[in-house]
């Protein structure tokens, strides 16, 4: 019994960790996709910008939490500028907007390498670790899972309780109608893109202390972000959360039994199976259930 308990705890912690990683990887992408139908292929690089902003501010002497805020602010500004200059021209050309963001991603990866070299010195994970039995777990990573839940809560509040949220949901449901009723939909898109960028930046800022900070670090998040968005579907909160739970559980079990790579593989296979049955993801399932009653 004494050896089973830590094993179970291991699995639970692994689940919590995967859940946090999936949600944080995907949330910025999911907000932009859910609102605008645009997949931002430079999402990974937005995360990288957040991490770079954090690391550079931290090394410049700012305390870590402030450095993280600086990273988020930098990414938000960056996202707004891109929306204004490039993304805006490609509304209604979905696939082209993907290609364009892909071009942006290429420029950014190599640009960061040219400007800052092949890596920045790392920050070091704060807060130590929790001990249980013969195992230990980083406190900071647990905090990240908590942060993902808090973030979902904030987004829920924002989309259901604020004026912005009402307008945003109106724009999702019927763009033309909202415009007729006086919603400045272009401004909604700009704001949404800004929020999505801020969330990606936050992900980068939060994970900056746990990773080596290199120009290509964004790709670490891409697969997880993609599968979460595909399994979740267009509904930002319910879909993404559901996908986080489902995929987090699958990832935890497979990683625990067969190693990290198997966990990743299992995510992909699950996703491919899910799209055959639920092309709209968990969002679609929800709509079926709602429509059925």
């Amino acid at each position: 019994m004494a050896s089973v308990l830590p094993q179970i705890l291991n699995l639970v912690l692994q689940f919590v960790d995967s859940f946090g990683f999936l949600i944080l990887s995907a949330i910025g992408l999911a907000v932009i996709f859910g609102m605008m139908g645009v997949i931002n292929l430079a999402h990974g690089e937005f995360i990288t910008v957040g991490a770079y902003g954090t690391a550079l501010s931290f090394h410049a002497g700012l305390p870590l939490p402030v450095a993280m805020l600086a990273g988020v602010a930098l990414t938000t500004v960056f996202g707004l500028v891109l929306e204004f200059t490039i993304i805006r021209r490609l509304y209604g050309r979905l696939l082209d907007s993907m290609v364009a963001t892909w071009g942006i991603s290429l420029i950014m990866i190599q640009g960061l390498r040219i400007v800052f070299g092949s890596s920045l010195s790392s920050i070091g994970t704060p807060l130590g670790s929790v001990q249980y039995g013969t195992f230990s777990y980083s406190t900071y990573r647990l905090l990240l899972a908590g942060a993902s839940l808090a973030l979902l809560g904030v987004l829920y509040w924002m989309f259901t309780r604020t004026e912005f949220g009402t307008r945003a949901r109106a724009t999702i449901q019927d763009e033309e109608m909202s415009r007729a009723l006086g919603v400045d939909t272009n401004r909604m898109y700009l704001l949404t893109f800004g929020i999505g960028s801020a969330l990606a930046g936050l992900t980068g800022a939060l994970y900056a202390p746990t990773m080596t900070i290199v120009p290509g670090m964004g790709s670490t998040f891409l697969v997880e972000a993609f599968v979460t968005v595909v399994v979740g579907g267009a509904s930002v909160l319910v879909g993404t959360t559901g996908a986080g739970v489902l995929l987090g559980a699958i990832n935890a079990v497979f990683s625990n039994l067969f190693g990290t790579f198997a966990g990743r593989m299992a995510l992909l296979v699950t996703t491919i199976l899910v799209i055959r049955l639920l092309p709209q993801g968990i969002t679609g399932l929800l709509e079926q259930v709602r429509g059925g009653t």
């Binding site: 996709f33 139908g37 997949i39 292929l41 490039i86 021209r89 490609l90 050309r93 979905l94 696939l95 082209d96 993907m98 290609v99 364009a100 892909w102 071009g103 942006i104 991603s105 290429l106 420029i107 990866i109 190599q110 640009g111 390498r113 040219i114 290509g216 790709s219 891409l222 697969v223 993609f226 599968v227 968005v229 595909v230 790579f261 990743r264 593989m265 992909l268 996703t271 491919i272 199976l273 799209i275 055959r276 049955l277 092309p279």
Partner: protein, 360 residues
């Protein structure tokens, strides 16, 4: 299948074999439907044929490499340009076929091994495309999902191949080799026993020129056939095409599988060209290249894909010599420029300005 609905396009004046051949090769879905075009193509092929007699073996080998890339470009052109399936996965099929060729040809020595490797490589990449395509198209997912799922598949293969450095990751005598890649992949040899010809150096070059020309002409026939019209119909409006009674899922799956086969052929030839393959073929950077090639050249035209691939690869080779670290920035900027300013690509633009062009 969809192609049985009506007779062929209006070539009613066709009589005699040459007319009939031109009838099959020409149509609204390809550029170059004039005598001047065929004459120009003949001149181009002539130049390609005499080229090895004029340049050193380094240039021949490099030109062969540029032409090998065109298979990858053509496969994306067929899938994305003609049918509207935006796939990041063509490099995955390319890489899978390359690795498969390596595994088979290292384990089965001699020409038999390389011929078997070629066939098995193509079959495996085609089957892989079929499976991924089945789940996507019969699930009925949107175009955006197709793009991100194919990219996720490619990236997962990258991580998978990257962690195969250990001794335990070997298929028979072939070690997968992790990030260092699989080495000592033999040259392609065609034939059996003593009658076999090893395809290397100049022979390899002619092999690539020949297969590329055949592929190009074959695809011209395909895209100008009734199936080609259905493909373009799907690209322009899938729902409408479906309402006309075409089985769009089946056509998409067929095209995607064919795209996998084409990319796979390119991958096999590439692996035997360098005697080597590594996981960077599944990397983000390499996955971006076919999209840049095809978008720049003109995704909706076969000739655009080939010319785009050849030119952009050529330029990026020059860039990596002179521009060094900026080459990827420039390629990314090129992609942005094409999408924002010239979504049709360069080739159709230039073609329209030619005196012999169709002028549409």
């Amino acid at each position: 299948m969809a192609g049985k609905t009506s007779g062929s396009v209006d070539h009613s004046t066709a009589n005699g074999p040459i007319q009939r051949l031109r009838g099959a090769l020409e149509g609204p879905n390809t550029l170059g439907n004039s005598r001047a075009f065929w004459a120009a193509l003949a001149v181009l092929v002539g130049i390609l044929v005499v080229y090895p007699m004029l340049r050193s073996s380094y240039y021949i080998s490099n030109t062969a490499y540029l032409l090998v890339s065109a298979f990858l470009g053509l496969s994306l052109c067929l899938v994305w340009g003609y049918t509207g399936i935006f796939s990041f996965g063509q490099v995955a099929f390319y890489g899978v076929a390359g690795y498969t060729f390596g595994v088979v040809s290292i384990n089965v020595t001699g020409p038999v091994g390389t011929v078997a490797g070629l066939l098995v490589g193509i079959v495996v990449s085609g089957a892989f495309a079929f499976i991924v395509g089945y789940f996507m198209f019969y699930g009925g997912v949107s175009d955006v999902y197709v793009a991100i799922i194919t990219l996720a598949v490619t990236l997962v293969l990258n991580t998978f191949m990257g962690q195969t450095a250990g001794e335990e990751w070997a298929v028979g005598a072939a070690r997968l080799g992790g990030f260092n890649g699989m080495t000592e992949i033999p040259n392609l040899a065609l034939g059996v026993g003593d009658a076999a010809i090893t395809v290397e150096d100049t022979a390899f070059y002619y092999f690539v020129v020949g297969t590329l020309l055949l592929t190009y002409l074959g695809l011209r026939v395909l895209v100008n056939s009734n199936i080609g019209y259905v493909m373009v119909g799907i690209r322009e409006n899938q729902q409408r095409t479906e309402l006309f009674g075409y089985d769009t899922k089946r056509v998409k799956l067929g095209v995607f599988t064919l795209g996998g086969v084409l990319a796979g052929f390119g991958g096999v030839v590439y692996a035997s060209w360098g005697n080597y393959i590594d996981p960077s073929v599944f990397g983000l950077t390499f996955a971006a290249l076919p999209i840049i090639w095809v978008a720049t050249g003109g995704r909706k035209w076969l000739s655009g894909a080939i010319i785009g691939t050849f030119t952009v690869t050529f330029i990026s080779q020059k860039l990596s010599v002179f521009g060094g670290q900026f080459s990827m920035v420039i390629l990314g900027a090129l992609l942005l420029f094409v999408i924002l300013v010239l979504p049709e690509g360069f080739v159709p633009q230039l073609y329209r300005r030619l005196p012999g062009g169709d002028g549409k």
